[in-house]
């Protein structure tokens, strides 16, 4: 077993000496990126440009689209800001606190990450709106499906993203600067405002953009909690597609409305990202005006304790408990006939198992593909192999799928591939869609990881006689193993959760979130026990897979 593996590695080592081989690996990575990831999300919409005419003549549809898009952006901005305001204190507590309970807190913060968003949406619906949830204390539905529940949902699933990014940034931050500020006479809060936060600004901006992009893109869970009247951009696009499917709208109207809404979503997202990036750099926290006495009072004991208290309250009441609330009906379902129905895959359950298999298979394929084509790209970007201009350009282009809301991306992909390459099976289209959505996340985190490895290590390895691929095999790979794993987890969870793009691309195939959304939205199709158990099983299996991945990587070291 060992021998052929070694031979292969040696053969590759030898091949990598030839610059033509090395260059073609990079070239293939770039071509795949441009052909599969960069162009289709935009081209599909461009080739359907002319269909927009049909919608501009229908004021009802355009007005609905504009309202929906407005809702999308209001919620995204509001939620991202609130997430930063409330996630930052928790990140601070996790990064700076000394209690051993913080480890537990740190792990808990990832929970909404692990719960696929469709299950999360149903869980929130149960918790906030259904009679069995928190509403049982009030005698009426506390928060009905609608924009407030959508905002709450988006707040909940973006929260761990913010906390993760900010904890990482705070741990990397050199405490010396803050200490210097303290010795110069600044109380803790003043030190944080004038020194720590300005220095962490790039991370805060990155966190904002991630939260914002997620909120703009999320479709499945949003459909579950949006209710009948409320629409945001993705929900609108999906409803248009459903109407076309039901024969209410003509094909050109459906295409036109989709292009119209997608285009506005993309353009406004792009403008907002540009503004945040450019203005964010220039935005200065006031340095000159200081309020020593007030900040001093807010810095110590009571104020700190109550800040932590409020933070934890928000964390548990709005993030953790609603996310896991679905476990209750799932648990109850264990004692009903639902369990035997599920495992004998009777009725709706055969659909469920099929979709679960599709979801995990899709996640696995997309993860492997990301590693194969994303890693060379990450190295290209991190090591500036193409000169600083082209590498920076690639670095920016990689983000394009991030800016395109996933349902718009899915629609564009569907237009592009189905019109021009109708022979490609649907599963492939799904893979392309999920690849495009997850690629930026993977390349981002990997290029950062490669950048952290000093070039001197590579040079040392080369000077000791290692061939290019040997360097990759013996230096880059072992040192980035942990990052590859966390990148893979990110890709896998994102793919399993993804609903918007999936719905836009497929006509017959179903992934697990699609099935769950369908169960919730279609009255009488599934009982609450079915849905609860369905969500519970999805969470359980996802959790087991993540645990297994973590276990594989455990003990292999974080460098």
């Amino acid at each position: 077993m060992l021998l052929p593996k070694l031979r292969l590695a040696e053969a590759l080592d030898g091949l990598s000496l030839k610059s033509s081989v090395k260059n073609s690996v990079y070239l293939i990575a770039i071509i795949i990126f441009i052909a599969l990831i960069l162009l289709p999300p935009v081209l599909g919409i461009i080739i359907k440009w002319s269909t927009m005419q049909n919608v501009l003549n229908e004021p009802d549809l355009t007005a609905r689209a504009l309202t929906a898009i407005q809702n999308s952006f209001i919620i995204a901005i509001l939620v991202s800001l609130l997430d930063i305001a409330t996630g930052m204190p928790l990140a601070w507590l996790i990064a700076r606190g000394k209690s051993k309970w913080l480890n537990v807190l740190d792990t808990l913060a990832d929970v909404p990450f692990i719960v696929p968003t469709a299950a999360l949406g149903y869980s929130l619906l149960l918790f906030w709106s259904e009679p069995d949830g928190i509403s049982s204390f009030f005698g009426a539905s506390l928060i009905s499906p609608g924009w407030l529940l959508v905002a709450l949902l988006h707040f909940t699933f973006s929260y761990p993203v913010i906390v993760r990014v900010m904890v990482g940034a705070l741990l990397d931050y050199k405490m010396e600067y803050e200490r210097a500020s303290r010795t110069l006479g600044a109380p803790p809060l003043t030190a944080a405002r004038t020194v720590t936060f300005p220095m962490l600004k790039p991370s805060i901006i990155a966190a904002f953009i991630l939260a914002f992009a997620r909120s703009i893109s999320e479709t499945g869970a949003t459909m579950i909690v949006a209710g009948l009247a409320f629409e945001n951009g993705p929900v609108y696009i999906q409803k248009i597609k459903d109407a076309y499917g039901a024969g209410v709208l003509s094909k050109v109207t459906y295409e036109g409305a989709t292009v119209f809404a997608s285009l506005i979503l993309i353009i406004i997202s792009f403008v907002i990202f540009a503004i945040v990036r450019i203005a964010g750099q220039k935005l200065k926290v006031p340095q000159n005006r200081v309020w020593p006495s007030m900040e001093r009072r807010l810095s110590y004991s009571k104020a700190e304790k109550s800040r932590n208290g409020v933070t934890l309250l928000i964390f548990f009441l709005i993030v953790i408990v609603p996310s896991l609330f679905v476990a209750l009906p799932a648990f109850e379902a264990l004692f009903t006939k639902t369990l035997s129905d599920a495992f004998s895959s009777t009725g709706i359950w055969s659909d469920y198992w099929q979709s679960l298999l599709t979801s995990y298979l899709l996640g696995a394929v997309v993860t492997v593909l990301n590693i194969l084509i994303g890693l060379p790209m990450a190295i290209l970007i991190a090591r500036k192999k193409l000169g600083s201009f082209l590498s920076t350009a690639l670095d920016l282009l990689v983000n394009v799928p991030l800016i395109v809301p996933s349902i718009a991306l899915g629609a564009s992909l569907a237009f592009f591939w189905k019109e021009n390459f109708s022979f490609i099976p649907e599963m492939w289209l799904l893979i392309f869609a999920h690849l495009a959505i997850t690629y930026p996340y993977f390349v981002r985190s990997m290029s950062a990881a490669v950048e952290r490895i000093g070039v001197d290590l590579e040079e040392a390895s080369r000077s000791l006689g290692a061939k290019p691929f040997t360097v990759f095999r013996t230096i880059i790979l072992p040192l980035t193993k942990y990052s590859i794993l966390s990148g893979a987890i990110l890709v896998f969870t994102r793919s399993v959760s993804e609903t918007g793009a999936t719905l836009a691309v497929v006509s017959t195939m179903k992934t697990a979130p699609v099935v769950i959304v369908n169960w919730v939205k279609t009255k009488g199709l599934a009982s609450s026990f079915d849905i609860g158990l369905g969500c519970g099983l999805l969470i359980l299996f996802s959790f087991i897979i993540l645990l297994a991945l973590r276990f594989i990587a455990k003990g292999k070291g974080r460098y």
Binding site: L184, T194, V195, P292
Partner: protein, 367 residues
């Protein structure tokens, strides 16, 4: 007035005791150094004084006020970090005026102070520059200016010259001392460089493994080391092991290995006690004839190292012990390898210490 007192202070990090029951009294307007090898607890002690960390036991007083529970911003200190910790998002001017601003001074006063301190470190023309645009020496001066601008009377310096080139370091040494003396500040300076500590300080505390070995002026430490470690760490010493043979008025005869006998000053030695003899290489006299005279030892020249100002000989004694001798290279005749020589020293220049319980090598190890 800002004298600083540290009373029985202990600080542990997990199982390691970084500062072990240390007491010190640093006088008002004194330039005081904490000197020791890395890991001796000197930086931890400085951070305890600054309030960046809290002691497990003991009290710290600044200007006769107990400051154990006072946060760093209220201790009225200036701290210069080893990495300088200049705020990278502010230019030199905003770095320097940061202290007055966060203390709530009005802008006019903050700006007056800013101009004063920048003038003092002679970097007034660079006030627009960001830290990344400054050289190491300039960054160091801005860091000092920033600490001074906060108006503190006590200056805490954590290896402030450690990141600079040798030449710049030597220049800035004297500038730092001059500034502290001109402004009448109390300075506590942490360093592992004994020549820096000797050149700059009024008094030095030599630390090792969390404990203070000796406190004294540079001259006292050099002339009268109280421990084997201080004899080793300040300047240089030859160590010879032996037993006290007999004690007469003021002098003791020490028997080295191989039954060689030498005389040394007696400071309360007991007969048959195992001891270590510390002799500085520059106090030894060397005779080209291998002839026994008073308090001399015979040997052969081994390695010779030319160091510029000095020349250094390694002599192998009859009992195989090695002994180093330093001579000015421009004075007298040079010796050759394998020359037979006699080395001698005045008994009062040899320091005798009780042989350390943990062994000599372990006692003087700096790592």
């Amino acid at each position: 007035m800002p004298n600083v007192r540290v009373v029985n202070v202990t600080k542990r990090f997990g199982k390691i005791t970084a500062v072990d029951n240390v007491s010190l009294h640093i006088h008002d307007q004194e330039y005081f150094s904490l000197l020791g090898p890395s890991g001796c607890g000197k930086t931890t002690l400085l951070r305890l004084i600054a309030g960046l960390i809290k002691p497990d036991k003991g009290e710290i007083y600044i200007g006769d006020k107990l400051v154990n529970d006072v946060p760093p911003e209220d201790r009225d200190i200036g701290f210069v970090f080893q990495t300088f910790a200049l705020f990278p998002h502010m230019n030199a001017w905003n770095n320097v005026t940061y202290g007055p601003k966060v203390k709530g001074f009005d802008m006019g006063k903050a700006s007056t102070i800013g101009h004063e301190v920048l003038e003092m470190v002679k970097l007034h023309e660079r006030l627009d520059a960001f830290p990344s645009e400054l050289s190491g020496g300039m960054m160091q001066r801005i860091a000092v200016a920033r600490a001074l601008a906060a108006g503190a009377k006590t200056l805490l310096l954590d290896e402030p010259l450690g990141q600079l080139d040798a030449k710049v370091r030597n220049e800035l040494r004297y500038e730092m001392r001059r500034m502290v003396k001109d402004l009448g500040l109390t300075a506590i300076h942490v360093t592992h460089d004994q020549s820096e500590a000797m050149a700059i300080s009024d008094r030095i505390a030599v630390m090792r493994k969390g404990k203070v070995q000796q406190v004294g002026t540079p001259r006292e430490l050099y002339m009268n080391p109280q421990t084997v470690f201080v004899a080793h760490f300040i300047g240089e010493s030859n160590f010879l092991e032996g037993y006290v043979q007999n004690v007469t008025n003021g002098e003791a005869t020490i028997e080295l290995r191989g039954e060689l006998k030498v005389k040394a000053a007696n400071k309360g030695l007991k007969e048959r006690e195992k001891v270590v003899l510390a002799i500085r290489p520059e106090t030894l006299t060397i005779e080209k004839e291998a002839k026994k005279s008073r308090n001399s030892l015979l040997g052969t020249v081994g390695r010779i190292t030319f160091e510029g100002t000095n020349i250094r000989y390694e002599i192998k004694l009859e009992n195989q012990d090695l002994i180093a001798i330093i001579k000015p290279s421009l004075v007298g005749e040079w010796l050759n390898i394998d020359d037979k020589v006699a080395v001698s020293f005045p008994p009062e220049k040899a320091h005798v210490f009780k042989y350390p319980d943990i062994g000599l090598r372990e006692e003087i190890a700096v790592e």
